[in-house]
Amino acid sequence: MSDYFAVFGLPRKLGVDGAALQRRFYELSREHHPDFHQGADAERQAEALARSALINRAYRALREPLARVEYLIALEEGRDVREAGSEKPRAPKELLQEMLEVQEALEEARAEGLGGDAAARLRQERARLEARHAAEAEAIVARTTEWDRRVDDGGDRAPLLAWFKERLATRAYLRTVIDDLSEALGEREEGHVSHRRH
């Protein structure tokens, strides 16, 4: 598996200068994009195509802090990263009670419709989960410098890696519940798969 950090000549660390990455991405694109190899022989053209595809995927994986964490986990575990949420959604233990309430509200809305307080209740739950979802992201990003420090001083990274995985799984779970709530409220684009940016 090709290391996307290496594509940009970066070490496997989470702190990345976004502006510098973008500059490097544009430079590499100018070098390898098929547009600039139109006159070359078939072999060179195929090479440019493959190279350009790799650069594009690498940039997508690294340009945002959360995507970077997801990619890094995959890289550390030596598996192929699949976009659109590689972490399996898992219900957060500390939120079990609240999740039960949300499920109850959802079932009620499904059974009795959105009349009365049902819609308001669903919206309230959703707003709470959205806030929680954003907080998870902040918490993950906040510990990325800790990761980089351990890379530098050779400390044990396994516990932090496990923690990142857990937070990402929680976040993925929150997303599915938020989507369920939106769907119950009839505010979700018909069956649109959400793989929005983080």
């Binding site: 973008q22 500059r23 544009y26 694109s29 100018r30 994009h33 098929p34 547009d35 600039f36 139109q38 006159g39 195509l49 493959a50 350009s52 595809a53 790799l54 594009n56 995927r57 940039y59 997508r60 192929d80 699949r82 976009e83 659109a84 684009e189 018909e190 069956g191 649109h192 798969v193 793989h195 929005r196 940016r197």
Partner: protein, 608 residues
């Protein structure tokens, strides 16, 4: 490298452009016209394209194909709802939409190839040498099948299509040449048949598309259609005539509606006048009336704008510039709605009809190596996935991924000794396979017989810079490339395209001279037809002297028409038009006066 032209293959009009001396220019025809109507008519004299075909719309409705772009890369099931509006017959239940013209059948790529060939000839006449390579634009929201169909059309027309470029992105390139300010721009492109919204970041000469969205079945055509339905109801009420099944009348109404719609972008009121055999229909239309009619259609463009912003991870106030592309954006209603969504006044400093072709020419020049400081990084508009157990789609490449891009997926066998695996590739945003666009089924064959689960087949899905999918497979244990048989769901197979390319050589359309002659003759026929009808309807409005003069001009044109001297036919056509003009004006005035008078009478009756 030989000359590469840029082509905007539009729903309503098509153009060809080229960069000369660093400036992109649209190449005009011999008469100086830049727009070629994307209309193809089969006449007894042969196939005609453009303006000449446009004049066949009403007279030869069943054999005159327009707006074929809406049918590109589509199946019968996709378009059956709008067939009632189309005057030409579509073969039922064919997998690929097929149009019946007399005793022959043509597919949308073949129809488009006629338009492309006319543009190719226009460019060749301009340069005085063959033109064989082109960049062709498509709506950004076109799926794989629609892009492939466009590429096929190019091949059938004898053009090597070096690149398929998205229309809004092409427009941004045209603006970019004029040193566009750096920042985030939104390109709102409402054309004749399709709608696109693209959000780009322009920086250091790189045009990076962040997100795109749209509707490939929403454009000026739909606005015209809504107007036609409304006019048909009005005619029923006022003249007691039901013209809805009359293909010729529908076309007259469509053309009249289109023209009235365009006038209402610059005037508050307009009068639509259509002379039918039995009565002349005159209707005074206000801009507010038109806007009420098309408001729901224009409203449908706003959802995609918001989704594109969300996918780009931006708020509306982070957009620095909003550019309007496509003829339909001349409507004040459209401008108001766009302004509401983005909170910023949109502009169209470059001609919205030409800007896409100009951008295609810029991209052609980039490919030719003539421009090296600009780079376009586009995205794939729709998610690509494969069907998995239970009919669920597993997404391999999410929408708005920068292209070229690739994804790898691993397959194995489920039965001992199994030598083939099949997979179903889809495009779209829905969770269930059945709700998405089926692109193709692939058969991976030639796997060595092994126990179940042993083979490991790596399949690479690559979306190239055209937004078109390429699939490769190999068995990892043996390193052997697996053979793939592609069955496109809504496209022509390779051998069908080969056949069409061959046909286009053997039944080569008459050469350019012959085609121009047919067009001139067709135009003469149309004018003769109109004048004859006008004389029948004129009654006492025409003076005796006038009738004599028109009669003479008519006889002269008929004589010229029988021959093959194109210039003579054209001169006589112009002469007849001139001889009839004053009469036509007076007839129009009378019709309007009558309509106004009868309206006044109506009002008197209503309020005694």
């Amino acid at each position: 490298m030989s000359r590469i032209v840029g082509i905007d293959l539009g729903t309503t009009n098509s153009l060809v452009a080229y960069v000369e001396g660093g400036i992109p220019r649209v190449i005009p025809d011999a008469e100086g016209r830049t727009l070629l109507p994307s209309i193809v008519a089969w006449t007894p004299g042969g196939v005609v394209v453009g303006e000449a075909a446009r004049r066949q719309l009403a007279r030869n409705a069943a054999r005159t194909v327009y707006s074929v772009k809406r049918l590109m890369g589509r199946g019968y099931e996709d378009v059956k709802d709008e067939l009632a509006r189309l005057p030409f017959p579509v073969v039922p239940l064919a997998e690929v939409v097929t149009i019946r013209i007399g005793d022959r059948e043509v597919t949308p790529p073949e129809v488009s190839a006629h338009v492309l060939r006319a543009l190719k000839q226009r460019a060749e006449a301009h340069f005085g040498e063959p033109v064989e390579q082109a960049v062709i634009t498509v709506p950004a929201y076109f799926n794989d099948a629609q892009r492939q169909a466009t590429k096929d059309a190019g091949r059938i027309a004898g053009l090597e299509v070096l690149r398929i470029v998205n229309e809004p992105t092409a427009a941004s390139l045209a603006y970019g040449l004029q040193k566009l300010a750096e920042g985030v721009i939104a390109v709102y492109d409402l054309g004749g048949g399709t709608f696109d919204i693209s959000i780009l970041r322009v920086k250091d000469g790189v045009f990076e598309v962040l997100a795109t969205n749209g509707d490939t079945h929403l454009g000026g055509d739909d606005l015209d259609g809504a107007m036609v339905d409304w006019l048909l109801a009005d005619i029923r009420a006022r003249h007691g005539a039901d013209l809805s099944a009359d293909a010729e009348a529908r076309q007259e109404l469509r053309l009249g509606a289109e023209a009235a719609k365009c006038r209402l972008s610059f005037e508050e009121r307009t009068v639509l006048t259509i002379p039918f055999e039995r009565f002349t229909y005159v209707r005074d239309i206000g801009r507010a009336e038109l806007e009420a009619l098309v408001e729901p259609l224009v409203g449908r463009t706003l959802g995609p704008c918001r989704r594109a912003l969300a996918d780009a991870g931006l708020r509306a106030d982070q957009v620095d510039e909003v550019v309007l592309v496509g003829g339909s954006t001349r409507m004040p209603l459209v401008r108001r709605r766009v302004e509401e969504v983005f909170g910023r006044t949109p502009h169209s400093r470059l001609n919205p009809d030409e800007v896409v072709a100009l951008g295609a020419a810029v991209q052609a020049q980039i490919l030719a190596g003539g421009i090296t400081d600009m780079l376009l990084l586009d995205v794939t508009p729709l998610s690509l996935g494969i069907e998995t157990l239970g009919g669920i789609v597993s997404v391999l490449i999410p929408r708005n991924t920068t292209i070229p891009t690739l994804a790898k997926e691993y397959f194995t066998t489920s039965v001992d000794g199994q030598t083939a695996v099949d997979m179903h590739v889809l495009q779209g945003e829905r969770e269930l396979a059945k709700d998405n666009r089926s692109l193709a089924r692939f058969d991976l064959a030639g796997i060595d017989p092994m126990p179940a689960g042993m083979p490991k087949i790596e399949v690479t899905f690559l979306i190239d810079a055209n937004g078109i999918l390429q699939v490769q497979a190999r068995e990892l244990r043996t390193g052997k490339a697996a053979s793939i048989e592609v069955k496109p769901t809504y496209g022509l197979t390779e051998s069908q395209v080969e056949q069409m390319v061959e046909d286009s050589f053997t039944h080569a359309e008459a050469d350019v001279e012959a085609r121009l002659l047919i067009e001139t003759q067709t135009e003469a026929d149309t004018v003769i037809n109109h004048v004859e009808r006008a004389l029948r309807q004129a009654g006492s409005i025409a003076t005796t002297a006038e009738r004599e003069a028109i009669g003479r001009a008519l006889a002269e044109l008929r004589a010229a028409r029988a021959g093959t001297n194109r210039d003579a036919i054209r001169e006589c056509t112009v002469a007849l038009n001139q001889a009839t003009a004053p009469l036509a004006d007076r007839m129009m005035e009378t019709a309007i006066k009558e309509a106004v008078t009868s309206k006044r009478a109506d009002r008197l009756l209503e309020n005694p």
